[in-house]
Symmetry: D2
């Protein structure tokens, strides 16, 4: 009953097998390894983007901070949701790497809207040299609230940014889960929807620790390499990152892993609703149910793991995350423990 | 005949096995995993330092830059050798993380001396507010020139720094090789010799990618954690870093791996000298031989891999690095290829 | 009818005379000038703070950014009002100098309240290493909305910060105007109310360009000097800054200048109200009146200068600022032009 | 006998008069003042550069650091002389503003040579992503050693930089003195010699505190404005900076002031040599004479002010600087005091 986070899961067997296999013999270091060329080819194929460039790092914070630093000047504003991971959970890494300032855009359930974004855009950079300038847009999909943007919703937001000449970033720590939840293709969710740079998550979805910075506009590729090195994020034994992402993207493994996580999320959501919990929109693998007081204690007493969140008076709220390794038995045990 | 770098080797079987084993089931994320507690205990035991704190990162550049940033203010000078890795091979990461300035201290064969350090110390920070202030000392062992500082040599340098009130860092990307080459204990080479913070290398010596920042002065521990997160170097699945370093430090594996690398380095040095090459002092696993023109081409034609370096007129110079996975057969094949 | 800003005024005659007089002969540079010693003594006397240290810079942004950088670590949160000058009008200077993150605290009419501050404090730094840590409090008096904190209001806010161990900064770009408006002494408004570091404004109140960073806790004095130099804010001919602030603080000139500005502000407020404009609380020299559509155009046609701001439907809003050089005739001319 | 530095002098009467005059009435703030437009026209005329843009700041460190930050990326190397002001006397401001790294280029008497620069260029940025990349060139004229580059010497150096695609900066803290010493025109010394951005010094040569950042390539103009604001270097009452530089550049005042300083420097040099002191090449207003032991004490006992520097065994070395306000009587009194 491990629902605290998808990063408490280990690596999928196929990923670990690829890492073990990649350990055979010598290989060139610092990204010149044999697998890295195959990774680039795979990314281009999967995203239908023949010019795309991908650089690997080991953490999502690194992927996000490097993506932002290479697309926003130090005097720029990064428009992101009030509760974006880059705003709340990266201890200032995006600002440290870029010098830029985050401008928080509100919106229900983790999603900004064209109206809230337009408002933030209109109120920033209008003071001439006195304030920071409009810099870039950063979206997250799956959002921190467990909701999902459709490609057309993303497009509506990037259109506003692009009308101001701003580049657009997608924090895809749970990108595969968003694809599965929407049925969109990788291309539809990214460059076809106006995304210039993607943090392609692997860690939460069955890898040991790997994220790709995918540049659909390759002119930033060399700058990104330099920033990666300068931030200590270039692996000498890059082969071990490449092996993970290669296996991840091969034969749809990433989508199968995400499909399992999402399916378990939906099974959980149904079961919760059936027992009377309030379950806000949660089409992927992250749920924020509200239930009655005492439930938290009862679940934990039964061995369940999850995060307790602030809740309105007279209610309790939890964060529950399923992963590639969650089983139906795990879900059902949790639901059984939920019963008073 | 892979002598380009010890980072072209893979992971030692024991390390990889530990990683595979650590993948079993769920574990807490962000360093709260079960193995991390064992790693701390191991580091304290191995270093005879009951108060030491260790934080893990995946690259040596991260370990160095974080060590420096947490011990030197933005207006401080970091005294390091002219050819230190932090000065030449990290694309400015130490300056990026800390804001500090590197003051280059000369010295033959990669080693500063008490005289050159004293000179640099006396010429820095004397201009009041106009120049950067003396900040900290950073040494490297094994040095970039393949030479080794003895504990007493380190002590002589840290004494000068400490007389100025400066903390002292050791870049130990090849720390185990230095221990083997000198016969010193980890404690003798570090805190007993005046070192406050160590970058404990694992990657080049048989790990997939892990380095420990070992703080002998634990009061910086929380700051270092925050800086690590802020730099994107906190792994969610830290268990995979902890598993590596745990196996590495258990039952002397790290020293056995380094002993093999060093033994192969010495076998290579002897063979080179026997064939008339000039081999500067190289007590560990990195050699910089000089030989006659045409040798580079002949060796590469035979399939040898190494770095070509600048050399005086009429000579060629190579960098040769052995590793835990170098075999006597590798060395002998190289020596055979060397023969005209 | 120049009401755009108090910084469109020139320097008061006494200040300019002091600058001219200070030009006589040679003087030591970089703050070792004769006047600087007198300035320190004056500041200590005026603030009844025998240990206080003051460093001079030429702009308010520099004073604020240096104050913050020397009291907040790069991973810290600076709690400030949503519309603070440091948040909206300094193009990210506080973040650039400090690395810190601004956490915006709401509140009506430019003032945070104990409740809004307590809420922000409780929601920051609770996520362990994932989010920025509570760093410091920064208040502004006179606020950006033209309102004024009393010493007891400041104390109520700094008490909350100090209960968390946080240092407290006061942006006093219009500090003299706040003193005049409240009748408080400099000591009552600062260290007696929990302020550790003050940006003591001179520029807007009759100087050419000078602000003092007043440290009531002198242990940061040397760090602040180094940060000032490193930011290019140490004047070689510091005598010209010292001369300004010396004249400014001598014989209560600063308070007389502010008294004139405030008196003209009150005359303006009364006249506006008498003509039916809505004039929110404005006890000092900055007013944000609301009036009926068409008024802006009519005033500008008459030669009045001011800022147009966003206003609710069916209204117009202006920013009007009086200064030491505003005369009753200026005010009356404006009021006359206001009449339909 | 004030020869410690040209910044111990006050402001020239014409400059001070202009400041006083500029205080009349109201003026627009933040650089929109009436004088600023005239300053731009003057700079364009004086430099025969119709596209040039100039931004004013109050210190040379600010001018240099902003010039560098707007022309060099954070991963770039700034090639400057080993003893450049930006390297030794600005407490790391260039690195703070830009993130870049200074690569020190040696050369006798404060001047790099095509050979030493070519060597530094060839040794930087060759390690791919591991080291910083070639970023820009920064020269100083008059140099820190009191020597002067001719326009053709500057051209020879900028040619090397431009062959690598690098922009070129000139630190002209004593630019007028260099013009007088060489007879070159402002255009010949700057853009015609390959300079893209100039720190145009005013402070040391008779201003209160003003320096111009002159961009011959105006495409960086907006970025420079933003960086200036973000660094706290935009004056609200910019009129007082503009008034200084306007008077300075009008009717050749700047050259007359520098001519006086240089003439006094030459009078001093001749007198020193006549008395047996060794006077290295010093064509402008800064001398580094060597004389016999005991001279320092004798001069100071007579009331002379100057800097004592390191000297070879058996000698003493001083730094002597003349300024616009140095008189023949000052020089002669010093020479009289020098006599044993």
């Amino acid at each position: 009953m491990r629902f605290a986070s998808d990063n408490t899961s280990g690596a999928a067997p196929e990923i670990m097998a690829a890492v073990v296999k990649s350990n055979d013999g010598y290989d060139r270091s610092y990204g010149a390894d044999a697998a890295m060329g195959r990774v680039t080819a795979l990314v281009r194929k999967v995203f239908q983007a023949p010019q795309a460039v991908v650089h690997l790092v080991a953490t999502g914070t690194a992927a996000n901070a490097l993506s932002i630093a290479s697309h926003c000047p130090p005097w720029g504003a990064v428009f992101c949701h009030t509760h974006a991971h880059i705003a709340e959970d990266e201890c200032g890494a995006p600002e440290f790497f870029s010098g830029a300032k985050l401008v928080l855009v509100p919106g229900d359930q983790g999603k900004m809207t064209p109206a809230t974004l337009a408002d933030a855009l209109s109120r920033t950079g209008e003071g001439g040299v006195h304030g920071v300038q409009r810099g870039m847009l950063s979206l997250t999909n799956v959002t921190e609230a467990g909701t999902v943007y459709s490609p057309s919703e993303i497009k509506a937001l990037t259109d506003l940014a692009k009308a101001r000449g701003l580049p657009c970033h997608l924090d895809g720590a749970r990108f595969a889960n968003a694809l599965v939840a929407t049925g969109a293709t990788p291309a539809e969710m990214t460059w076809q929807a106006g995304i210039d740079v993607l943090s392609l998550g692997g860690t939460k979805n069955g890898c040991l620790g790997v994220e790709g910075v995918v540049l659909f506009n390759p002119e930033k590729a060399w700058e990104l390499e330099l920033r990666r090195k300068r931030a200590g994020h270039l692996f000498s034994k890059n082969r071990f990152l490449a092996a993970q992402i290669e296996a991840y993207l091969t034969d749809g493994l990433w989508l199968r892993l995400a499909a399992q996580a999402n399916a378990m999320g939906q099974r959980l959501a149904s079961g919760l609703a059936a027992q009377g919990a309030t379950v806000p929109d949660a089409p992927a693998n992250m749920l924020f149910p509200l239930w009655s007081p005492g439930t938290h204690d009862r679940l934990e007493a039964a061995g369940a793991q999850f995060y307790r969140l602030f809740a309105p008076e007279g209610r309790e709220r939890a964060r529950l995350v399923t992963s590639w390794s969650t089983t139906a038995a795990d879900v059902d045990a949790f639901l059984a423990a939920l019963q008073p």
